[in-house]
């Protein structure tokens, strides 16, 4: 099926590192961190079309490895910062634990794959009751009108990009005030007076609502919107006062909010 997500050979940094370290295990006393780091970085370099998020994950692990390596090369000094030392140990233990987790679930996945292969050799009986029982079957289409059918097909055949653009900010839950600003600047000037609840209508992720609110505050600070609250805890009214200025150069240094 076309919708299967294609993943690189190594679906994650732990998987890659695990592979490199365990294929190096011929003589475990000869395990060379240098070689592992080299091979690791070489693999990462091969991943041309890696998106930024994935690349970051791979590079974070690489950084830890290099730190370990550096620490080994440095002569042991008395003035080593004990906190730094502990932090590195902690990081190493975490990495080790994650590698063991990764190995465990890789093996589990293997067994599950075998189970699926075996199960796939059998096909279930699905024909259902014969037509002589048809009158007893609850009518699936009760209450379904031709109009509902029309709406259903319009929903599935509609171009997806409009909605998915919004959804991408919803999951994974990473919302940016910058995106919310762009959105608001695009839409507020022609919206007239609008309430905050209308702006955030239909948004289910709390963090999405929050970034919109922060974006509004930012616009308020910049003097481009007027905020009106009739009574305490009441809905906030929003009115664009920024004229036709739709620039958003001031927003570059606004943080992301992780959910």
């Amino acid at each position: 099926m076309g919708y299967e997500v294609t993943t690189p050979v190594f679906a994650g940094p732990f998987e890659l590192l695990l592979h490199l370290m365990l294929s190096d295990e011929l003589d475990i006393h000869e395990v060379s961190l240098s070689r592992i780091i080299e091979a690791y970085l070489a693999e990462v370099q091969k991943m041309e079309s890696l998106d930024l998020d994935v690349a970051t994950e791979f590079l974070l692990i690489a950084a830890t490895l290099i730190e370990l390596k550096t620490r080994r090369l440095l002569p042991s000094r008395d003035d080593t910062d004990i906190d730094e030392e502990f932090a590195l140990w902690e990081e190493r233990d975490l990495l080790l634990a994650r590698l063991l987790d990764c190995k465990t679930f890789k093996d589990v996945a293997g067994v599950m794959g075998t189970l699926i292969e075996r199960a796939d050799l059998s096909f279930p009986r699905m024909a259902g009751p014969e037509e002589r029982f048809a009158s007893l079957m609850p009518d699936l289409l009760e209450g379904v009108t031709p109009f509902r059918l029309q709406r259903a097909i319009l929903k599935v055949t509609a171009p997806k990009q409009h909605i998915t653009v919004d959804m991408m900010h919803v999951t994974p839950i990473r919302a940016s005030v910058a995106d919310a600003l762009i959105e608001l600047i695009e839409f507020l000037p022609t919206a007239g007076r609008i309430s905050f609840s209308e702006i955030s209508k239909g948004i289910t992720e709390r963090v999405e609502v929050i970034v919109r609110f922060l974006a509004l505050l930012e616009l308020f600070k910049q003097g481009r919107v007027e905020l009106i609250q009739g009574d305490r805890f009441g809905d906030v009214g929003v009115l664009w006062t920024g004229g036709s200025d739709r620039s958003f150069d001031a927003i570059l240094n606004i943080d992301d909010y992780e959910g």
């Binding site: 099926m1 076309g2 919708y3 930024l52 096909f123 279930p124 009986r125 699905m126 024909a127 259902g128 009751p129 014969e130 037509e131 002589r132 029982f133 048809a134 007893l136 079957m137 609850p138 009518d139 699936l140 289409l141 009760e142 379904v144 009108t145 031709p146 109009f147 509902r148 059918l149 029309q150 259903a152 097909i153 319009l154 929903k155 599935v156 055949t157 509609a158 171009p159 997806k160 990009q161 409009h162 909605i163 653009v165 919004d166 940016s176 910058a178 995106d179 762009i182 959105e183 695009e186 839409f187 919206a191 609008i194 209308e198 702006i199 209508k201 239909g202 927003i251 570059l252 992301d256």
Partner: protein, 204 residues
């Protein structure tokens, strides 16, 4: 030894394959198709089916092998129909799901459609849903694709029209000239932007 067991081991394998095919079949299977699948003559298949039907009856199974219009099929034995009725009335708790409705809509408007074509539109495997719709008699296999793989093509049935209360597919509300589409309406309702804004990686 079971009296359904045929004479030779070779035949035994063929009978097992025959039973398996009949079990998974959603519709009666013709002797010709069975002959082709089992690499036997049509006459042999007919004989095997008759023998098997007799053996099931003799063994007192709760199912039977019947010859109906279009071919052979397994069905529940009329003797125990009361239990089957009870099962249908008791055990099923079915409401049309949105997945089923969408799949049915796609097939109704765009028939004939293969499973793969429906999957391409819905973005998910419609297999289970289509089996349900087929079992309910709302859709049926109407032909096979000429292309490689000869995918089964599905269409709606007269029962579907009847349940929907329309006389023909022409009575379905048109979809071609319907503007704006559902997602645009939804987006407008949200009061949010409708068009795709190229959002630069400002937040990175």
């Amino acid at each position: 030894m079971d009296n359904e067991q045929p004479d030779h081991d070779l035949t035994a394998d063929v009978v097992r394959a025959l039973e398996a095919i009949l079990l998974v079949a959603m519709e009666p299977v013709s002797s010709t198709l069975l002959a082709q699948l089992l690499e036997q003559s049509v006459a042999t298949v007919e004989t095997l089916c008759e023998k098997l039907a007799g053996a099931y009856e003799d063994a007192g199974h709760g199912f039977q092998l019947c010859k109906v219009a279009g071919g052979h099929r397994l069905q529940s034995h009329p003797d125990v129909a009361a239990y089957v009725e009870r099962f249908i009335l008791d055990g099923q708790h079915i409401r049309v799901s949105s997945a089923a409705l969408e799949t049915l809509a796609i097939i109704a408007y765009k028939q004939p459609m293969s499973r793969g074509q429906v999957a391409a539109i819905r973005g998910v495997d419609p297999d289970a849903v289509m089996r349900t719709l087929q079992a309910r008699g709302y859709i049926t296999e109407i032909s096979r694709d000429d292309g490689p793989g000869q995918a089964v093509l599905f269409g709606t049935t007269p029962l579907f029209l009847e349940r929907l209360g329309i006389n023909s597919l022409q009575d379905l509300p048109p979809i071609a000239d319907f503007v704006p589409d559902a997602s645009v309406v939804e987006a407008l309702e949200l009061g949010l932007r409708v068009s795709t804004i190229e959002s630069p990686t400002l937040s990175e």
